[in-house]
Symmetry: C2
Subunit: 484 residues, 2 copies
């Protein structure tokens, strides 16, 4: 509306100048930032670089269909479907690529056949009836298939196949209205898709393969290890607090934060297990490796992580038990936490090396024994001098959560043992055991190591029958409910 | 090797007969099962049926390009891209459809232009050099774009765009080797894609639109309500146990299990927030509605759910505190749990109705006051007659976890208040308030209702300065770490 005053114009000009002057610097900073994050992304998982190059190779190879005269004569414009297939089907892991490739190939075959049938049926209805009937077919087919995609089980494994089913049926039946060589069209589409998908699968398997199953296997082991790291460090951190006073700073310690990734690992685990089920046998894994059992271990690990999340809030909390009380439970709690951590680490390495390790059983027994010790400490009435019960509560909660963690660890051990028996883990694998570990290893069978007499007793004297004292592992079906 | 004996053959035959006899029954049972699950799927969310029909309508409409002569003359075989676009782009929610449509359109435009450029550049290199240079271009482009897809931020929003970028660039530059009318090809591909994408977006918005933003909004409110239901029922369930003895059965109660869905809601919330950010303004939501704030509320709700998961293990645990002790903390704990539940229910309805409700503040204050009462109960030394401290531990843990839940509830309240101020929730919305609720509502401003003097004190007498007694809400940055 009103023109700016000369001062304002001057100011605007100066700002523009300073902005332009700073621009190269800012751009350089931004470029540096992008370069740094690119480098980090590549270093975090070098397979990303390989995968990118593999996609490039596959795409260049498939383009040969265009460049090489004899091939082009065969397929013509349909050669483009090979290019499309490579771009769409090539996924990071072999399992995902195979799953998508098979889905795409089979769906094209099926939908192509149905599309040709629909076209023939419609062409019987004359010039006017044909487009109407075709429209009705397309509508019905698309509506039904889209609805079927909502079934959870089908969505997990065949979602892409149904998408391609809708696509191919519509393309073939509708194109047929204009193109009389509909059979040839369907045939060309199918063969180019097979060429593209085969190129993807072959390159994906032959050049630095990324197996989803292996990733799942390592993820499950890693998640257990993260919890183990927390538990091994927890005792020291929690009981250090009281001695060092307010100067404690847990925020820098990585092992106290790592476990947070475990809390939200469900969707990653499920998709990896889905991809893994498409994969052929590879490395140590058979064709029908029990991937579902990994999901069960993952669910139990997550349950344990929830308890650990509750525990961790007592590390950083301003509310702390008095030092005397903490010093009384220190030994038993540190022992419980440490032994659970060791057990989880053993289980993690058992899964990682696919060997049956009996030392995890001993650590679980030790942690249960420590829980028993805690009980006797509490029972011995050492607390009677604590005139304020309030001061006991944070310590009691930590102890109780740790007892929960012991229960979780035991259930994880059972799940890992089940996996070991279903997947035929080797019973002894001396190579994978480090010298100091092998010293700890003794020759007693598991049943002897485990002390069935040590039960976790934290119930009150009024709890009734002795069975009530034992903290029974929850039935595994209850765990499935957690996964709904 | 050896022929079976006549008895065995007879047995086999009998079995075959009985199998064939039972077959119709089995098939009927299977069909009935499928019909039942289909009906349930449709009843659970009737929008699924509408969505399926919408896809059918869009596909039939786009097929018109083939049937209607003037349109077909323009596009020819390229009309198929419109069909492909509809099948691939049409997603359940408006946001996802819009996001995919925009990604596809823009990526095609950009990659088409680059592909035409690459083709011209390559054609300068003569008959032999052209395919080699094109191959190099395709390889470089595919490798770079595939790697860029690994950047988490880009993956979240532009993954599909990059896929289409690779696809179109390869198609245009490679097809150009055979087809001289490359500009026309690029132009046709772009216009048919625009036709397909527009059909999807228009039908998706006009016919029974499914807004991802609305879904996220409702999901966040629902999750809070699920936790509220648990907390409102928890007191009664936990303290009922001791009176009814061993006959208690919590397994049938829905409200004690519902919260488990909240534990794993992260990925759903994130994808809904991503879709919502593509959506135009609709209903009560502005164009730049603060969807990220919903994610923060969701993260805090999940943190609270982790505590509730720890709490719930004390419901079904065989280890229970003695009835005397439980009866002593019963009043305060039930009050805390109930008030937290009420507060969460108020917050949930505040989010749902997009109104600022002050009664949540009162419930939070009440729950903090109840925590204070618990403190004085504990301080009053009522426990001195409990000769066994062990009997106290489960009760103390429940109390402590409930105090944690109070803290979580307070943080959720703060996050909801922040959302209310950022998204300009209406301060009073009398219509949405039920009669009995409006009776509870009083006219005091929030600052008066809140009692800043009631702080949760559970620290021991040695904890030092009075500030240490207050359970400070954790900084929100700490919460972000939980989301890494």
């Amino acid at each position: 509306m009103s023109t700016a005053s000369p001062e304002k114009q001057m100011l605007l000009l100066t700002r523009c100048c300073s902005f332009l002057k700073a621009l190269p610097q800012r751009l350089a900073a931004k470029a540096f930032e992008i370069a740094a994050s690119t480098k980090k992304l590549a270093q975090d998982d070098p397979r990303r670089v390989t995968h990118s190059a593999k996609v490039g190779v596959a795409l260049s190879l498939v383009s040969l269909v265009y460049y090489y005269q004899p091939l082009y004569v065969n397929f013509g414009v349909s050669a483009m479907w090979a290019v499309v297939t490579v771009v769409v089907v090539f996924e990071f892991s072999v399992g995902a690529t195979l799953g998508k490739g098979l889905n795409r190939g089979l769906a094209t075959l099926l939908a192509g056949a149905l599309g040709v049938g629909a076209h023939h049926l419609a062409s019987l209805c004359g010039q006017i009836g044909e487009p109407i009937l075709l429209g009705i077919f397309v509508f019905l087919q698309a509506t039904t298939s889209t609805f079927v995609r909502f079934f959870p089980k089908i969505k997990a494994r065949y979602d892409y196949g149904l998408l391609i089913f809708i696509l191919t049926f519509s393309l073939i039946s509708v194109s047929g209205f204009r193109d009389d060589e509909i059979l040839e069209l369907a045939h060309k589409r199918l063969s180019t898709i097979i060429i593209g998908a085969s190129a993807c699968v072959i390159i994906s398997i032959l050049i630095c393969p990324v197996w989803a199953g292996e990733d799942l296997h390592n993820l499950i082991a890693l998640n257990m290890e993260k919890l183990a790291n927390f538990l091994e460090g927890f005792g020291g951190e929690y009981f250090k607090t009281s001695e060092d006073g307010e100067g404690n700073d847990h925020h820098d310690k990585l092992f106290l934060k790592e476990y947070k990734n475990v809390l939200n690992s469900k969707s990653t685990e499920e998709s990896l297990a889905n991809f893994a089920s498409w994969e052929p046998c590879h490395g140590q894994f058979q064709f029908r490796h029990p991937w579902k059992q990994y999901l069960q271990i993952g669910a139990l690990t997550r349950e344990c992580a929830y308890r650990i999340d509750a525990l961790s809030s007592y590390l950083n909390s301003d509310v702390q038990a008095s030092p005397e009380i903490r010093s009384k439970i220190q030994e038993a709690c540190t022992e419980m936490s440490l032994e659970c951590g060791k057990a989880l680490k053993e289980l993690s390495s058992a899964v990682r090396t696919m060997s049956q390790q009996s030392s995890a059983d001993r650590h679980v027994s030790n942690s249960k024994a420590a829980a028993g010790n805690l009980e006797s400490v509490l029972r011995s009435g050492l607390f009677e001098d604590a005139d304020d019960l309030l001061a006991v509560i944070p310590a009691a909660t930590v102890a109780s959560l740790l007892i929960d963690v012991v229960g979780c660890t035991e259930r994880i051990r059972d799940a890992v043992n089940e996996l070991a028996s279903v997947a035929n883990f080797e019973s002894v694998k001396p190579k994978a055991v480090l010298p100091e570990q092998s010293l700890l290893e003794d020759v007693k069978p598991v049943s002897e190591i485990e002390c069935p007499h040590v039960v976790v007793r934290v119930g009150g004297p009024t709890s009734g029958s002795p069975e009530n004292y034992t903290r029974r592992p929850e039935p595994l079906t209850g765990n499935k409910q957690a996964e709904m």
